[in-house]
């Protein structure tokens, strides 16, 4: 029971949060975030390094070399390349959010929209979008907009599907309240549906972001430019440390953006609903 209670206090419920803070109880070392991370991540790094030594550079570069290459990326232009790729990624992702959230809200709310759009959203969601790339190239060419569109398509269905699910989960009482106070249909979206579905929307944005990054890489691998081209070249030359370094940078930027979304969620849901305190790290 005591183990559980600890978990409860710190994580699953916030029941005990208040008293903890007030008593100013100092966290033990093993409860400190940095310590836990140092330990677990340090272990992972060590295992990688040892594996790298055992397997040899042909299979797995040692992580120390990867780290060195990550620093080298500051000077050899890799990060500049990645930055320009990310710019397009964010444009596509932003568009997906701007378009996807309203569609999701409407689909979650209106059966008619669901009837008409649902099947296509699901179909495109399960389709390998890679198959559509040639078609997209015809429509928008291979430049800037191609990559934006690919990222857009990779991200939007997650946003739509999650948003719609969030809307369907809204407590009907809230709709009743809004109806009782004569909230017009349009305002309903802004005042009730969006805030109530917000945790789902943000979950969708996070999922979508992950896919946006993937879309970016795949689009660039397809028309071999920027970061994608760099990855292809590095892979071909089997420069694994640089390859891993660049891949790690991509992952890191994805994680960073994800973290930003999480902090948004905390900012946007200050009403103390449970989610706010849970997703991501909590201040102690």
């Amino acid at each position: 029971m005591s183990g559980f209670k600890t978990a409860q206090q710190r994580g699953v419920t916030r029941l005990e949060k208040d008293s903890q803070i007030i008593q100013g109880e100092k966290l033990r070392l093993r409860d400190q975030k940095w310590f836990q991370r140092l330990l677990v991540w340090g272990l992972l790094v060590a295992v990688w390094e040892i594996l790298g030594v055992i397997l040899g550079p042909f299979f797995l570069p040692r992580i120390s070399q990867v780290f060195l290459s990550m620093f080298a990326a500051f000077t050899n232009g890799d990060l500049t390349t990645l930055a320009s790729s990310l710019r397009q990624m964010f444009l596509g992702f932003g568009l997906a959010a701007v378009v996807g959230i309203p569609i999701g809200l409407i689909m979650g709310r209106s059966r008619w929209a669901e009837y008409v759009l649902g099947i296509y959203v699901n179909a495109l969601f399960v389709t390998s979008l890679e198959a559509l790339l040639p078609f997209i190239i015809i429509l928008v060419g291979t430049d800037f907009y191609f990559r934006v569109v690919v990222v857009f398509l990779f991200a939007i269905f997650y946003i739509i599907i999650n948003t719609a699910a969030g809307v369907r989960a809204i407590d009907p009482n809230l709709f009743e309240t809004a109806a009782a106070f004569c909230t017009p249909r349009l305002k309903l979206f802004i005042k009730i549906i969006l805030p109530a579905a917000l945790p789902y929307v943000i979950a969708g944005l996070r999922l979508g972001l992950g896919h946006a990054v993937k879309g970016m890489v795949i689009a660039e691998l397809w028309v071999v430019v920027d970061t994608g081209r760099r990855l292809v070249d590095l892979g071909f030359a089997r420069k694994l440390p640089e390859y891993f370094a660049l891949a790690l940078w991509i992952v890191l930027f994805g994680a960073l953006a994800n973290q930003i979304l999480l902090s948004f969620q905390k900012r946007l849901t200050p009403w103390g609903s449970e989610i706010a305190g849970f997703t991501g790290s909590r201040k102690k």
Binding site: V40, V126, F175, V217, I250
Partner: protein, 264 residues
């Protein structure tokens, strides 16, 4: 009228609704087919074969047994990998939501891995896990597992504290609280994760069959693609979409059945 507050009237209209629903779906699909035919028939649309060529190709490949056999192989990989992903995903998802250690250390990795293009792993994966069945299985699993983890964790965290408080008050042990309160309460989220994961597992299976060792549907697509047999390629893609739709719609149906208490 407002479907939620008027739900009692919706029930009586449900028959009319069904007709309208399918009417709309069929109509919009016909429009889509027409546009596709018009577009695909243009000579410069080399990569987009029109339905008038795709459907016969599809029919032929189905009849010859080539496509069904390939699909069965792919589905088998997908199903096994997906089951693994479900088990791992739910366990890790719970772990992340419940344990501070896991949250502080594993969750950032999960989040990072989620946005990492898994395809980047393929060149190195094969060496460790093998490129045959296990390799594809692994790829299917990583393809599907993160969405399940993320959703499970979110669902667990969304459990109303008041209900857990109640359960604690009734002296439930931790295991029972998980089983009887947190799990059912997180179930709507978990099911969303499972549904999204099922779609991804299929895509992962096909991708693995294309990018790792080429077999089954992946081989069908690659062969058609590399010989520029566009009708056959699209027929294969069509089957993948169809399978995905069946899986997703099935999952949605199950979801509604399982969560029937929400609709009362």
């Amino acid at each position: 009228m407002d479907p939620v507050t008027r739900k009692d009237t919706w029930i009586s209209q449900s028959r009319k609704n069904r007709i309208a629903k399918w009417g709309l779906r069929v109509a919009s699909f016909l429009v889509f087919l027409a546009v596709w035919q018009w577009y695909g028939a243009k000579p410069e649309m080399f990569a987009v074969a029109p339905p008038s060529q795709v459907f016969p190709a599809f029919y032929e490949a189905m009849l010859s047994g080539e496509l069904p056999k390939a699909a069965a192989g792919t589905l088998y990989t997908m199903a096994v990998g997906y089951l693994l992903a479900v088990v791992v995903g739910i366990v890790v998802g719970f772990g992340i939501a419940v344990s501070v250690w896991a949250r502080n250390t594993i969750e950032p990795i999960v989040n990072a891995a989620y946005s990492a293009p898994m395809a980047l792993l393929i060149p190195i994966l094969g060496v460790y896990i093998g490129l045959e069945f296990q390799g594809r299985l692994f790829l299917v699993m990583v393809w599907a597992v993160f969405v399940i983890i993320v959703n499970t964790a979110a669902g667990v965290r969304e459990t109303p504290p008041s209900l857990m408080e109640m359960a604690q008050s009734f002296g439930l042990n931790p295991w029972s609280i998980y089983r009887k309160v947190i799990f059912p309460s997180a179930l709507p989220y978990i099911l969303v994760g499972l549904r999204l994961g099922a779609g991804r597992a299929l895509r992962g299976a096909v991708t693995a069959e294309i990018l790792m060792s080429t077999t089954n549907l992946g081989k069908f697509l690659i062969d058609a693609g590399s010989t520029f047999n566009m009708p056959k390629l699209l027929a294969g893609i069509m089957l993948v979409i169809l399978l995905g739709l069946v899986i997703i719609q099935g999952a949605e149906y199950l979801e509604q059945r399982i969560l029937s208490w929400r609709r009362v």
